[in-house]
Assembly symmetry: none
Homo-oligomer: 249 residues x 2
């Protein structure tokens, strides 16, 4: 990895998460902590980040005080993203839906990962695009503005031609009885196709949405291979799902 490349990646990370730890960076990029520190030093001298003890902060950090607004990556989603990333190995084909959890996944991908990501979600594509080693396949069709994802028969047809290793689904509601449910008809059509096509289906959701329902049915629990939340796998909230045959992480 070239120096400039590495620094660009660091800068991107800082801008995304508003902070970075030197310690985590050095394992992600697999270089010594010294190198990271020198990079942070240089970036800081160029005024692009603010170096602090233990890592660096984004410039906008000061301005945005405690607005728990969407720009912030909630630690829960980060945790979910980490677990999801553990499932990905080099060379895999990954299909993803949209949603903020998927976005967090996209942002947290380790830079040395080489894989192919397919999606119709514009925000997710943007993130994948910034990654140095990921191939991005865009699923084309008409854009649904409120979900910022391409929807329609073309998109569905395209998905049906694919056979991804893993499909990561951002999940709006999940429930033992009704399975996965959602509230946007077009998006649901898409998700159904994604589930059909994929060798493995992984649902990502924050604990808050567990045991909730939405009007439109996406799939039953039996069609899901794994459920990822920020909770510990032993949490009692997850037991019914484990009993239903869903792996949990």
């Amino acid at each position: 990895m070239l120096k400039k490349e590495r620094q660009a990646f660091i800068l991107h990370q800082v801008n995304l998460h508003n902070k970075v730890l030197s310690s985590s960076l050095c394992t992600e990029i697999s270089v010594s902590e010294d190198t990271i520190r020198r990079d942070l030093q240089e970036l800081s001298e160029e005024g692009k980040i603010i170096k602090v003890h233990g890592g660096a902060l984004s410039h906008s950090f000061n301005e945005v005080n405690f607005s728990t607004n969407g720009v912030y990556s909630q630690p829960e989603k980060l945790k979910i993203a980490q677990k999801a990333i553990a499932l990905i190995s080099n060379g895999m084909f990954i299909l993803t839906s949209g949603g903020t959890t998927i976005l967090e996944l996209a942002r947290s991908l380790p830079p040395q990962l080489k894989a192919t990501f397919m999606s119709g979600s514009i925000p997710a594509i943007l993130e994948y695009m910034h990654h140095p080693n990921i191939e991005v396949i865009v699923i084309g069709d008409k854009i649904s503005k409120n979900s910022k994802i391409t929807v329609g028969s073309e998109a569905i047809a395209k998905i049906k031609q694919m056979k991804p290793d893993i499909c990561f689904l951002g999940t709006n509601a999940i429930d033992v009885e009704h399975g996965v449910t959602d509230n946007d008809w077009e998006v649901v059509q898409l998700k159904k196709a994604m589930i059909e096509s994929s060798k493995m289906v992984v649902c990502l959701t924050i604990a808050e949405k567990i045991n909730s329902t939405q009007p439109i049915h996406v799939c039953d629990l039996s069609q899901i291979d794994m459920l990822i939340t920020e909770l510990d796998a032993t949490n009692s909230l997850l037991k019914p799902y484990i009993n239903a045959g869903v792996k949990v992480a």
Copy 2:
């Protein structure tokens, strides 16, 4: 392998992957590392790539870092955008390429305009998406990281199915003798398809690029219906194009 040939290959690689390592290039082309370094040196002096320790980066690589200041709009491009927008009426189907000029067009669209925009350029799609009344059709395929546009046979096939009213092309180089030329093979394939499909082809370019050429041929002047620059239509620089039958605005 000829020197020019080799340099063209290198440039293509840089545009494709956004970076190259001198070490890997020299085994691929089987020449000494010195030769590669000299090539990179020259290409860098011509401003086509950015040389760094260990290899080279594409120019657009750095632009990604500066994406924060991407908001700035050169007044020339704004002027071009205004002229282009004057051609669009409600209900039209518009196909656009990528590029900063197109981006400016996308940003300047009047909010009451109702039209359908089709593109494979992710930055452009982002802008269209923000517009309240525009329908956005995404052309899917693999993303070329350098140009941030989808490229490949799928994208071309999709374009060939369309029959847009206007096609707006961001233009890298135009010349009376050679017509429109560009430097990225894959993008050129796409532009060719776009030109074929469209009822009307409009080239957008800043005056700076008039009477310049790039290595790969896109189309002849005869295939262009209109050329839009920031210059006044009476400017002598544009005369040869008017004489060649191209409308000018």
